[in-house]
Amino acid sequence: MADWRQAPVVDDAVTTQLRQDLDEDDFVLVHAALADDIRGRMAELAAALAADDTETARRAIHSLKGAALNLGHARLGLLCSHLNQCALASDWSAIRSAWNDLRAVSSASLAALGHGGLAFDGDSSIVRH
């Protein structure tokens, strides 16, 4: 599996292809929706980890991975791929340890989308280490 640290935040080739494949309205809509998906899934994951709800946490990581990779957000997608493997192996301590990386990479994707940071940026304590 490729190292997420080496991946670009956004793969420009995917963005260029999407511009060709989608009409302008859908192109704008799909990127706005990705920002909502990132915020929503990160909040869901934080709450699930705090509650030891592994099923919801696993699904949130999986959803974030698919959404990010579909739109060429390679760094976030690859980090989620790694976390997905951890989730499948029930290695929740590794996922909790990677929380700050995930938050930083999610914020980088949001910035690339022209959006601000995560709504719960100041409250990472909800994820128990």
């Binding site: 989608l22 859908d26 809509l29 699904r59 698919g66 579909n70």
Partner: protein, 149 residues
């Protein structure tokens, strides 16, 4: 990757694209994805390929509520596997049990052989690996619609 899965790098011809547009124009296409970006992306691509009747849903429960429960039987279903409430495999099973002619394409990051075999045992007609491309989506639609270019 199992051979049943359409690769992202599938190569399409203009003639095939026209054939798909003609075949899909009057079909009811159901897109089921729990993330809104993926739902908008797949719906937008399918409309761009010529589908005029596209319904989208957030999970299996929503999909049934918007179609089968209202007497609307989709011709083609494009569905994620991992979703809350009712996942893609259960939706596949329920739709195929009642309407075996519905063409069901699973779109998922689950590309291991065991997952593909399980989906095929439940009657899946096509399988697209995520991240997908417009061409891999077209290739799978061409296959399930029985068109060639």
């Amino acid at each position: 990757m199992p051979a049943f899965i359409v690769p992202k790098e599938a190569i399409m011809s203009e003639k095939l694209e026209q054939a798909i547009a003609a075949a899909i124009a009057d079909k009811l296409v159901l897109v089921v994805e729990d993330t809104s970006s993926s739902r908008i992306l797949v719906s937008g691509l399918v409309r761009g390929l010529g589908a005029h009747r596209v319904v989208s849903a957030t999970d299996g429960v929503d999909a049934l509520a918007k179609t089968v429960d209202k007497g609307l039987v989709p011709d083609v279903v494009l569905c994620d596997w991992v979703m809350p409430n009712m996942d893609g495999l259960e939706l596949l099973t329920r739709i195929k049990a009642a309407h075996s002619a519905v063409k069901f394409i699973m779109m998922t990051v689950k590309t291991e052989a065991e997952a593909v075999i399980m989906a095929r045992q439940h009657g899946v007609d096509g399988y697209v690996a995520k991240p997908f491309s417009r061409d891999s989506l077209m290739a799978s639609l061409a296959k399930v619609l029985g068109v060639s270019g």
